[in-house]
């Protein structure tokens, strides 16, 4: 086994230029992919904190008597995906409005009668905050006889979710493309190394070396490339991350911009992916190279 490692390292040293290029390529790809993951992890955080704030306002018909309220509330409470239901009387609504319009309260002062309806503010469970679910729930609430209208940040939410999904999709596609590109590049490097050693491999075969004996150093080489590339890529991302958070920290310390780094689990996943890429590239190359064999 030590022999195999020695051979693999010798191979890497013998083909330094090729290996450096390959490792740089892997590092850059890992950097880009992990930067994307970092973006999505944080964007997801922000999304879910927004989603937590998403609520439906159900306006009651004006002729609803106060005694019917608990029953309506109970019905809404029982719907799937509802977290909390809060009654906001028209007086309460007016008070809030006035508060929001502080300084312009003269506009409201002239009102003789409170034009606002009574309403329920319905907070949703985070899990049911997708735009389709909210829409369904709103429609369901609106269908209740005592409800005049159910309102939510419809357009805005829909569009935002769509854009985010598009982003996410593009992200996946990019990760896929990078994956294929890197596998291809590793495969190519290994293939060039194989070509440069074809004579040697042929002789090894003739003196009775098994395929396993011949292939193992190449696999180790691929795995080392993947591992080093992964480490460099993630280290670079970490440096960039530190620089960004230091800068952002100076501009605003508010917790809207609470950016977090990738979790150890995700980091491990990316590392494993990187190593897997090294292995796969090797596998493809060796598979091809076996085809040239006549016996």
């Amino acid at each position: 086994m030590i022999l195999f490692y020695k051979k693999a390292i010798q191979d890497i040293l013998d083909n330094r230029f090729l290996n450096v290029i390959t490792i740089i390529t892997i590092s850059l790809s890992i950097l880009i992919v992990s930067a994307l993951s970092l973006f999505f992890v944080n964007a997801n955080d922000i999304m879910s904190s927004w989603k937590k704030g998403i609520s439906i306002i159900a306006y009651l018909k004006p002729d609803i008597v106060e005694t019917a309220l608990p029953e309506i509330k109970g019905k809404i409470q029982g719907m799937y995906g509802v977290a909390e239901v809060e009654f906001i009387s028209k007086e309460e609504a007016m008070k809030r409005l006035k508060e929001q319009m502080k300084g312009h309260s003269s506009l409201l002062a002239d009102l003789q009668e409170n034009p606002l309806p009574d309403a329920f503010k319905i907070s949703l469970l985070t899990s049911s905050a997708g735009s389709k679910r909210v829409e369904n729930l709103a429609a369901q609430i609106e269908a209740m006889p005592s409800i005049e209208e159910a309102e939510y940040g419809r357009r805005w939410l829909e569009r935002f979710t769509n854009v985010f999904d598009l982003f996410r999709f593009t992200g996946y596609a990019m990760v896929g493309i990078f994956f294929i590109a890197v596998v291809f590049i590793v495969a190519n490097t290994i293939r060039l190394v194989i070509y440069s050693r074809q004579n040697e491999i042929e002789i090894m075969r003739l003196v009775g070396a098994t395929d396993r004996f011949i292939k193992t150093p190449f696999y180790i080489e691929g795995l080392i490339q993947g591992a080093i590339g992964g480490i460099i890529g993630l280290a670079a991302l970490f440096v960039i991350f530190i620089l960004i958070t230091l800068n952002v920290g100076q501009v605003s310390s508010s917790d809207i911009f609470h950016i977090r780094f990738l979790s150890p689990g995700v980091l491990c996943g990316i590392m494993l992916c990187s190593i897997f890429v090294g292995w796969l590239g090797c596998y493809i190359s060796l598979k091809q190279f076996l085809k040239y064999e006549t016996g």
């Binding site: 022999l3 040697e200 090894m204 075969r205 009775g208």
Partner: protein, 225 residues
């Protein structure tokens, strides 16, 4: 018809044909090689001497016929068994086939590394074999810096280091002066004296004239009596 357990035969060839595309390189070869035999195969250039040796270690697949090597059926061998077939042989190639990027020592050691021997044992064995062929002092040299005769001695060392049952030597004296040639022949005789089987393909007249071993003559792919 073919008995792999025959006490005295280590190689049996039975109606063997070999074709390269349309070119018939060997036609209906029937040959038994006995254990501890020293056999010569000769014939003009292109007669099929190298081809015959290649069929034995599956350097080329057989087109037709049966070959049994020490109980292994070469015609029906699976890919994964080929390395084990080849370990029965020590092969000395017409063009030496040393690895130019490896030292003399590493070239010889490769055979033992491939079969998973321990490093200490490898060092001991390789050094003793290099001493036997008189190349001990050059063990750190690279093949290019050696003369043809020296390279051939390294090739012999590599062929015998794994203690094979059979040595196949393709023109072992082909491009050597008579002194170097004698060294090689003596090494092969030494291997034979220790109980090994040797097959030498050659058209070295001198070599054939001075031997009383069996000689197989090939011409245009056919065995001539």
């Amino acid at each position: 018809m073919i008995d792999g357990n025959d006490k005295s035969s280590i190689i049996r060839m039975f109606h063997v044909h070999k074709q390269y595309g349309v070119k018939k390189a060997l036609i209906d070869i029937n040959l038994d090689v006995f254990k501890n035999e020293f056999l010569f195969i000769t014939g003009p250039s292109g007669a099929g001497k190298s081809t015959l040796l290649k069929l034995l270690y599956y350097g080329e697949p057989v087109s037709e016929g049966q070959i049994l090597i020490d109980g292994m059926n070469v015609f029906r061998i699976s890919c994964s068994r080929i390395p084990f077939l080849r370990r029965k042989f020590g092969i000395i190639f017409q063009d030496y086939k040393l690895i130019p990027t490896k030292s003399v020592f590493d070239n010889v050691a490769l055979v033992l590394e491939a079969i998973g021997r321990k490093r200490q044992l490898i060092r001991k064995k390789v050094n003793s074999v290099l001493r036997m062929v008189g190349m001990e002092e050059r063990s750190k040299s690279f093949p290019q810096s050696l003369s043809g005769g020296e390279q051939q001695r390294v090739a012999v060392a590599r062929a015998i280091v794994g203690v094979p049952k059979i040595i196949l030597a393709d023109e072992p004296t082909g491009s050597l002066d008579s002194e170097s040639a004698n060294i090689i022949v003596d090494l092969l005789k030494g291997f034979h004296a220790r109980g090994g089987t040797v097959i030498v393909a050659t058209h070295d007249k001198e070599l054939l004239r001075t031997t009383d071993n069996r000689i197989i003559h090939l011409k245009e792919g056919q065995q001539i009596k």
